[in-house]
């Protein structure tokens, strides 16, 4: 053995304590990295899977009011896989025993395989077709007020006072983190999301044959930019509130099997602030 190799071995022997400590630190670091990497990969996969199962929209395009025929034209834009034309309106709820006003977003929902931003039910079911008195509430609000299936819910929507019955409690990829308009934190006791059956919601908010918000899902690998430009051209006569924009967390799906981390893991909460004028 060469003298320098002997020197190395002896020096390592003399430094065995610090060397072992350093090796343990490195091993702990590697172990932490491997486990965190595994957690990260697992969470990333769970998120992608959740959004995929919920058919999370890639693009949202809010308008003041547009006829449903425009949604059919949007469907014809190359690269568009599915569209969902929703009606939405603000509401005020009367919560017994709760002195402060409670606001809500009334939004339409579809309960079919082609629906976008599908509602997941923690309890109950979707409102029956044509039943304007059946409603699904978001889970956080239900927990805050200890609501259960069958409970009545009095709401003022579009100047009309209606009495709703809770038939479902759940959420959707679009409303994972519900923040009231103008706020930066959730306020589950004072703000709710109410899902009504599409036609019943349209009747309630006076938007039969129209929509307020277009959710668009693209084919895998489709470039969103030309689609957004086409949507802006299509919707601008109908009071597009702002440019159609991609939903951050949905971008990975379009790029293939290894999506990058989205800038946000929730839908932009400001989106819920938008009210039809």
């Amino acid at each position: 053995m060469r003298a320098l190799n002997r020197k190395l071995l002896r020096d390592l022997k003399h430094l065995s304590g610090p060397a072992i400590a350093a090796a343990l630190v490195v091993a702990a670091g590697v172990a932490a990295w491997v486990s965190l990497r595994g957690v990260y990969t697992s969470l990333e996969g769970a998120r992608t899977s959740y959004f995929e199962r919920g058919r999370f929209a890639d693009i949202v395009a809010p308008v003041v009011r547009a006829p449903l025929s425009v949604a059919a034209q949007a469907m014809a834009i190359p690269g568009v896989e599915a569209v969902d034309a929703r009606v939405q309106a603000p509401a005020v709820l009367d919560m017994p025993g709760f002195a402060e006003p409670v606001r809500a977003l009334v939004t339409s929902m579809r309960d079919d395989e082609g629906a976008l931003n599908r509602v997941f039910f923690r309890l109950g079911r979707a409102p029956a077709w044509g039943r304007g008195d059946e409603v699904v509430v978001n889970e956080a609000f239900a927990l805050a007020h200890k609501l259960k299936l069958g409970d009545p819910l009095a709401a003022t929507v579009n100047g009309r006072r209606v009495c709703l019955t809770i038939v479902g409690i759940g959420g959707s990829p679009e409303h994972l983190y519900v923040v009231p308009p103008g706020a930066i934190w959730p306020d589950d006791a004072r703000y709710a999301v109410l899902w009504l059956e599409r036609d019943a919601a349209a009747t309630l908010v006076g938007a039969e044959g129209a929509f307020h918000d277009l959710a668009v899902r693209l084919g895998r690998g489709v470039d969103e930019r030309p689609v957004i430009e086409a949507l802006d051209r299509l919707l601008s006569p109908y009071g597009a509130l702002r440019r159609a924009r991609p939903v951050p967390c949905a971008q990975g799906r379009r790029r293939g099997a290894d999506p990058p981390l989205p800038r946000l893991s929730i839908v932009d909460p400001r989106r819920q602030c938008r009210l039809p004028v």
Partner: protein, 258 residues
């Protein structure tokens, strides 16, 4: 009497001849008009101020001078560890003032041995292994055991530096310097950290290396007594050679007194 040939940077030269055919001593190393300046402007320090010097084959030279006179700077330049600000140093037919660090390193490795006041031994290696560090990278070294025998350390081959006295450590350093059979051995205050008795033993080791291997040896010291064992004494002062004295009678280290 020629001892062989060596190559360096693509050049070949013969070495080891101590005299010319006419019987004149051969200069193996020549320094001419050496200056060395550290810093610049008002703060410049002139360590060497125009040194002319020769070392002849097989001789033992003592370079004598007070502290701060530039001796160590000169030794570093003669050994190719440093380059002068101006002037030339030629070893045989090779220029040692080239800027090519790799070329100077190869030259040092093959032809120059160093011993310093502080021994610079590797603490985790035995005496034999410290010498082996050099023999493993030298082209035609002697065995580490033979080098240590030359400095009378046969019985300390497997001792670590911490188990050796200061004199013994210095002798290991000298054995390490001569183990590669250098043509030139440069020693900077080799007895500076030793008492008289130990210093004599170390000087005897240097004398044996000089006599038995024919190594041209240059010892730097500020100890006047050591000058009497040299073939020539170069007196150094204020960055210059003050005078050169040739000893007609050399003393052995045992006869030195200081």
């Amino acid at each position: 009497m020629g001892r062989g040939t060596a190559t360096f940077a693509g050049l070949a030269w013969s070495y080891g001849a101590t005299t010319t055919p006419a019987g004149e001593a051969t200069a193996v190393l020549e320094a001419h008009a050496l200056t060395k300046v550290y810093g610049e402007g008002d703060t410049a320090v002139h360590a060497l101020r125009g040194v002319d010097m020769q070392l002849f084959a097989g001789e033992l030279v003592v370079l004598l001078g007070p502290s701060g006179s530039g001796k160590s700077t000169l030794l570093n330049i003669l050994g190719g560890l440093d380059v002068p600000t101006t002037g030339t140093v030629r070893y045989r037919d090779h220029d040692l003032t080239v800027k090519d660090e790799a070329a100077r390193t190869r030259c040092r490795r093959e032809h120059v041995g160093f011993a310093f006041q502080f021994y610079n031994l590797v603490p985790s290696l035995t005496a034999r292994e410290n010498v082996a560090l050099v023999t493993e990278v030298s082209p035609s070294p002697m065995k580490p055991e033979d080098a240590l025998a030359l400095v009378n350390l046969t019985n300390r081959l497997d001792h670590f530096p911490a188990e050796l006295s200061g004199g013994e450590q210095q002798r290991v350093a000298i054995a390490r310097a001569v183990a590669k059979r250098p043509d030139l051995l440069l020693c900077d205050e080799p007895t500076g950290a030793l008492d008289i008795a130990t210093g004599r033993v170390v000087l005897e080791a240097l004398r044996r290396a000089n006599r038995e291997l024919g190594t041209t040896t240059c010892i730097i010291t500020h100890n006047q007594a050591i000058a009497r064992m040299a073939d020539r004494v170069v007196y150094f002062a204020d960055g210059k050679v003050a005078r050169i004295q040739k000893n007609t009678e050399k003393l052995t280290p045992d006869e030195l007194q200081w």
